[in-house]
């Protein structure tokens, strides 16, 4: 039903636009001539073609021709034509109208096809990444479990402990991976509605660090937050994920006991958060690529994840109207800078002094 209704609107448009053009032409008649009339009709045809597609534009083109013939060729108010010049003009108009509508139509289709192909490529790489990255921990888990099942009598106690740790760590990894994949899927289908609330940056960073407590036992974290940072207007869950992903990256690509710095300061318009490590860094040439979905550095193994972390960061930061960039800083490794626009918080009536 809806489809039919749409088609109906398209064709009505294809008729109404030439009529409007005719009315305009009639008003302008004292000061213009045939060339302007024809251009006006062609303009109408383009408008219809770009708005309602090929079919409607053909209708508009033919209808324009009829109206032109009726009102602006001699004899006026008849479909009869005595002037050869008028006839030629009419034929040219119909041809130009149909050809350009056709071109527009093709361009549109090509655009849709390209988007579809990109979608398809994304889906394929997602599927292969998921199956690969889920299979690796699964292989380890089932391998270790089989060992435990079949040799449980002669495995030393320490080894049982070690095997259990493997199972636990791998399942944690899978769980984290699942979360990332689900977040990405929700973000890219627009299913996530962003749930903004007032928060303090300290709190978001605090809970991100808490979540990574175990992983951070090998990396000292230095936080430098300037005093009186403004409140942030963010989706706390998603924003925390950004911080978690960036810190996780720093942990992954630096040797143990290498520190991680988190800094924040603000100007009139922006709150700037910088997360940096002291590893080998990321070359400038990859500055934009690293934020692409499924991008991995060449030497990376399956240990390093699917390549969704940074692309998630970018999607989330952009949802908040901010930007995330890689910065090259001497004596430092990878440095990520987030700029978040400052939003004025509602007024507060504090009943007590600090």
């Amino acid at each position: 039903m809806i489809f039919k209704k749409n088609i109906c609107i398209q064709y009505v448009g294809g008729v109404l636009i030439p009529i409007s053009c005719t009315l305009l032409n009639l008003t302008l008649e004292p000061i213009t001539g045939r060339a302007t009339f024809l251009m006006m009709y062609l303009f109408g045809v383009f408008l219809v073609a770009s708005r309602w597609g090929y079919g409607a534009s053909i209708v508009a083109s033919l209808f324009s021709a009829l109206l032109f013939d009726f009102y602006f060729t001699t004899p006026v108010f008849s479909l009869w034509m005595t002037n050869v010049e008028d006839l030629i003009a009419l034929i040219i108009m119909i041809s130009v109208g149909t050809i350009t509508s056709n071109l527009l139509n093709q361009a549109k289709n090509a655009h849709i096809a390209k988007a579809k192909a990109e979608d398809e490529a994304l889906r394929n790489s997602l599927l292969s990444a998921i199956s690969h990255d889920l299979r690796t921990p699964l292989t380890r888990i089932s391998g270790v479990a089989t060992t435990l099942m079949e040799n449980h009598d002669h495995i030393p106690k320490e080894e049982i402990q070690e095997f259990s740790h493997v199972i636990f760590d791998e399942s944690q990894r899978m769980s984290e991976l699942m979360n990332k994949i689900l977040d990405m899927a929700k973000l890219s289908t627009g299913q996530i509605s962003i749930h903004r609330e007032w928060n303090t940056l300290e709190e978001v960073i605090g809970s991100a660090l808490k979540r990574l407590e175990k992983e951070l036992s090998t990396h000292p974290v230095n936080t430098y937050l300037s005093e009186n940072l403004p409140l942030i207007w963010v989706d706390s869950v998603l924003f925390e994920q950004v911080i978690v992903n960036l810190i996780e990256n720093a942990i992954k690509y630096t040797p143990s006991s290498s520190p991680i710095d988190i800094e924040a300061n603000f100007s009139r318009q922006y709150l700037t958060i910088t997360i940096s490590d002291y590893g080998i860094g990321i070359p400038k040439s990859l500055e934009n690529k690293i934020f692409d979905k499924f991008f991995r550095l060449e030497h990376e193994t399956e240990q390093n994840g699917v390549g969704l972390g940074l692309s998630l960061c970018r999607s989330i930061i952009e949802m908040h109207g901010g930007i995330i960039q890689l910065k090259q800083v001497p004596h430092k490794g990878a440095v990520f800078v987030i700029n978040l626009p400052i939003v004025q918080p509602p007024p507060m009536f504090l009943d007590e002094s600090i």
């Binding site: 399942s171 944690q172 769980s175 979360n179 689900l182 977040d183 749930h195 609330e197 007032w198 928060n199 303090t200 300290e202 709190e203 978001v204 960073i205 605090g206 809970s207 660090l209 808490k210 974290v221 936080t223 937050l225 409140l231 706390s236 869950v237 925390e240 988190i262 918080p345 509602p346 507060m348 009943d351 007590e352 002094s353 600090i354």
Partner: protein, 232 residues
């Protein structure tokens, strides 16, 4: 203390999860009875009269929230809810419906045990009888309304104290933003979450050694706050 081991009812549809939880909880001196569906769970609640309920929110036959609401009509036993991550709204709905705390899957058994203990402490002791709350370097004298960090008294405003007091009453358990806003500022302030954030920042600056890596006042992102009562 109770004479017998506390009895837990576990409502969870997955057999393996039930088995592993039962086994682990048994070794930590909890008595566990279990049900694999909402309907049988509700029946057992009435028959077996457990001390505590662990409820999986993703049951096939009944919505977890419905079970909580139904249960709350006739029982006040502590409820610990198991849920998936990234479902903050569900957690909040469950807490509002009457659940006492939640745990996000997958979780460690140690984490589960400390939540259960926090819940038991809450039903076993009446907070008013307790004069001093102590965890790590933090000490709060509830009768004199004094707060100490490393034996040094900290100046604290009435509002800050009020927030801290509510968290102490629920020590170890999550307290939602809504609950805090309602009880500290009143119902008309439910939309003013920024008040709470700012006071929390101040409180952390006074109590915590490093406010961005808090030991005591933990954020439960998207849900609320938790005062850790076993801070080392």
């Amino acid at each position: 203390m109770m004479l017998n081991n506390p009895k837990i009812l576990l409502i969870e549809d997955d057999l393996q999860t039930r088995r592993f939880l039962k086994k682990n909880l048994n070794t930590r001196n909890w008595e566990v009875i279990d049900a694999d569906s909402g309907i049988s769970g509700l029946a057992m609640l009435k028959e077996a009269v457990p001390d505590l309920l662990i409820l999986d929110l993703g049951l096939p036959d009944m919505d977890g929230i419905t079970i909580i609401k139904h249960l709350r009509q006739f029982s006040t036993i502590p409820i610990l809810v198991l849920s998936a991550r990234s479902l903050e709204q569900t957690k909040i709905t469950a807490l509002d419906a009457g659940a006492d705390d939640y745990l996000t899957k997958p979780f460690g058994i140690g984490e589960l045990n400390s939540r259960l203990q926090a819940l038991m402490r809450r039903i076993n002791q009446i907070p008013i009888n307790q004069d001093v709350f102590e965890t790590g370097e933090l000490k709060v004298d509830l009768s004199k309304r004094q707060v100490f960090v490393s034996q040094k008294e900290i100046k604290i405003t009435p509002t800050e104290y009020h927030i801290l007091f509510i968290l102490i009453q629920h020590a170890g358990l999550v307290v939602t933003y809504k609950y805090l806003l309602k009880n500290v500022w009143g119902t008309s302030y439910l939309d003013n979450q920024h008040y709470l954030r700012i006071y929390m920042r101040r409180l952390r600056h006074k109590i915590e050694e490093n406010p961005t890596q808090p030991r005591y006042l933990i954020t439960e992102t998207g849900v609320g706050y938790r005062l850790l009562n076993n801070a080392i």
